[in-house]
Symmetry: C2
Subunit: 156 residues, 2 copies
């Protein structure tokens, strides 16, 4: 399926919640309660976000998480990278531990060409939406214009 995991979705919600109150220290409980989601789930994604350097954690009583950075400087692409890890639409290019390609057909594969183009387009779309956009709710809706870019058709 072409969808993000629920955990990643939770992570985006948590990030938006924090970004809407910049600098404020908010407990995982509060966020979980707001979205009616199980607390352990929220703590899990907040930890991930913290490890990715996107939010800050504050331990001890009265602790929690906070977003101290610039919401405009954080992109949806960064969030997804941290939450989902590296991903690709197809795995043609991925290699195993020995550096050997997992896909046996490689050069003959017509899928590589265009799938990685689409891949890149989608990642580009994610890079153009900032956390600030998400927090504001009104997002600049990216569209894809086919005609305009036939120029960059020759990727790799």
């Amino acid at each position: 399926m072409l969808k993000i995991s629920r955990l990643t979705d939770y992570g985006l919600l948590a990030a938006v919640y924090l970004a809407r109150r910049p600098g404020a220290v908010v407990s995982a409980r509060e966020i979980a309660a707001f979205y009616h989601l199980p607390v352990p789930m929220i703590t899990k994604v907040l930890k991930t976000l913290q490890q990715g350097g996107l939010v800050q954690s504050h331990r001890g009583v009265g602790g929690g998480y906070s977003f101290d950075g610039d919401a405009e400087a954080v992109t949806l692409g960064q969030l997804l990278d941290v939450l989902e890890g590296p991903w690709d639409l197809v795995e043609c290019e991925t290699t195993d531990d020995s550096g050997h390609a997992l896909c046996s057909i490689r050069v003959a594969c017509p899928s590589r060409r265009f799938m990685f183009g689409i891949n890149r387009a989608i990642k580009g779309a994610f890079e153009q939406v900032s956390l600030g956009d998400l927090a504001r709710g009104a997002l600049p809706m990216p569209i894809l214009d086919k005609g305009a870019l036939t120029a960059r058709a020759e990727i790799q």
Copy 2:
């Protein structure tokens, strides 16, 4: 993960193979052999494509599958719809059998707004690539222009 299933990828490969030889009846074995993929996998996706009306099947000796339509009229979006079934980046909007929303927070959910915008953008991208593009290998690489379309930010 944000990726298409391998089966779907096989389906695209098969469709491209057929589209490159319009009208020709090709056996699943031939396609499987060409891509070095297991025959049952290819037959499975070809069946799916046939049920979706995207390719035609020919039974009996000398039978196989063929693509008889106009490759320019078939979009990548259609292919993915048939191969992956209906999909959405997030499942906020999906309802159960009784029409009740699966997502408990719904209106309060900040995710809906932008995720469905992204969703739509990606689907739009898929609609702008035709099977003919795929078959030719040279694809018009769609990009996403943020600035140009703030106008349609207010979706639903």
